[in-house]
Point group: C2
């Protein structure tokens, strides 16, 4: 099954202790789409400005990615700049320019509304909400968000969370949204808002999933070197939902497996800047790391 996905396509400038990348492909939807395209077709919904360069368009033109829903508007593309210190779990945002994304009103091209799997990548929760209204027949609605929206549009954000099946957040943002230091208690509060599952991304510490009756934890794939964590969460989401949409089954076993796929796909993203490593991943590499992760976590009791 295909995925309908809305979010930002952006131009990023990123600095880490291991290098600097200027004006590279970024945005929550870009990472998501590339990651999910290993598993299924992604119908992208977004906007870029007339300044969006050809070479970045080229990176998005991939098998499994439908760009008909990406509109070009007079003006500048969404831009983000950030810096990471040696603690790669914490980012310092230097600049967020919404630009053409600020007054983006998503309109779905013909056929997009038949997608049964919907992903609302990190972005304006009002836009996320509008997209949901246009796909009433969705079978699985998944969303991500970040601190920017918790601070700037908390009510819109909660309204959207109430409408989705699975909520992805990173750890500190989950605690921030419901103002609860214990992660377990925070997750329970988030579940009470409506989602059937809450997945908390913890960066180098992996991810955990909470449902009313299940708890699942998976460590990150261990890496010698992380060059740039940008897009890790978005590509986690891509691997996660890509796998679910491909298997077209949604039960606890497939969801756990999907969390593992998300973890593995994200591990490639952070090995280099932008989608430099991610776009080159092969199915064989994904399979290998998935099997390794199973070995890394397996234990038997007496």
């Amino acid at each position: 099954m295909s995925i309908l996905a809305v979010g930002t396509i952006g131009i990023d400038t990123v600095e880490t202790p291991f290098g600097r990348a200027e004006d590279v492909l970024g945005g929550s939807l870009s990472y998501f789409a590339v990651a999910a395209s290993f598993f299924t077709q992604v119908n992208m919904v977004s906007v870029v400005g007339t300044d969006f360069p050809d070479q970045l368009w080229e990176r998005l033109r991939r098998p499994g990615v439908d760009l008909r829903g990406v509109v070009v508007r007079e003006g500048k593309t969404f831009r983000w700049a950030g810096r990471y210190d040696y603690d790669l779990n914490a980012v310092e945002t230097l600049e967020t320019q919404l630009n053409t994304f600020a007054d983006f009103r998503p309109v779905l091209p013909d056929g997009y509304d038949r997608s049964r799997f919907v992903f609302l990548a990190n972005g304006d929760p009002d836009i996320q909400f509008e997209v949901l209204q246009q796909v009433p027949g969705a079978r699985l609605r998944v969303m991500d968000t970040m601190d920017y929206w918790i601070r700037n549009k908390p009510e819109s954000l909660v309204r959207t969370i109430e409408q989705v099946d699975i909520l992805l957040m990173n750890e500190s943002e989950a605690r921030m949204l419901v103002e609860t230091p214990s992660l377990l208690s925070a997750a329970k509060k988030l579940l009470r808002l409506g989602p059937k599952a809450v997945i908390i991304k913890k960066g180098e510490y992996g991810a955990v999933m909470f449902t009313d009756f299940d708890y699942f934890a998976v460590p990150a794939y261990p890496l010698d070197e992380v060059r740039d964590p940008t897009g890790a969460g978005d590509s986690f989401a891509g691997g996660f939902l890509g796998y679910l949409a491909q298997s077209n089954r949604v039960n606890l076993d497939t969801i756990r497996r999907a969390v593992v796929m998300g973890t593995v796909v994200a591990s490639f993203t952070v090995e280099d800047f932008s989608i430099n490593r991610l776009e080159k991943v092969t199915p064989e590499e994904i399979r290998l790391r998935t099997e390794e992760l199973r070995e890394f976590t397996r234990f038997v009791l007496d």
Copy 2:
């Protein structure tokens, strides 16, 4: 098989956002011994001052704990005071008084040197080293340490690390000792010092184990409320080595299982101050959480 264990027995004062405990039982060896005593006999080697109160002696008198190696010296008992903020992963040490522990020279009572499993709890690395000299027939030597000794006796510490089979450290301390931000690279450097396995404790993020040919990760047992993380690492070590000594087998499968036991035992410790929760744990409670942890981490691939 019994365990020979050396480390501090102390009087702690601890503050967390959830309360305060004054002059309670503390010290790396106290937590270790109580935790390990669920699995096997522990022969304790330590020192206290003449001020060590009767009610704290009472807490240590447990089935499976041999106190003959705990000497009483004129003077004051080792004391530690610390404070935790809402981020329970970071402690602020307010005071460390070595007191009688400062010039402690361990002497093993008759029979102690027959212990085949040796644990060097966090403490002076020179004392740790001296103990090792007295048990040349040890089958498995395990040690823990902390930032205090990395800063104050780095050379003694490395000399002791070179002599042990398994090294336990927490995450930031492992990075600090070998001055390496990547945990995987840091662990490889630590393995090169001599230990056959390095186990990194990550607090609420669980634990990982590195050997030359194996990597194992287990998440922490999820808790609604953590009241006091003091002693989590020491009781992790107690569950870990207690289980290994009880099973009297040391292979990758039992070591992985031992890491799980350590994780589970530590989860009880942090539910209350001092050993208040830990000392009441039942074998049935340990078994239950161990099985839950297996469920929490299990996934099957296609």
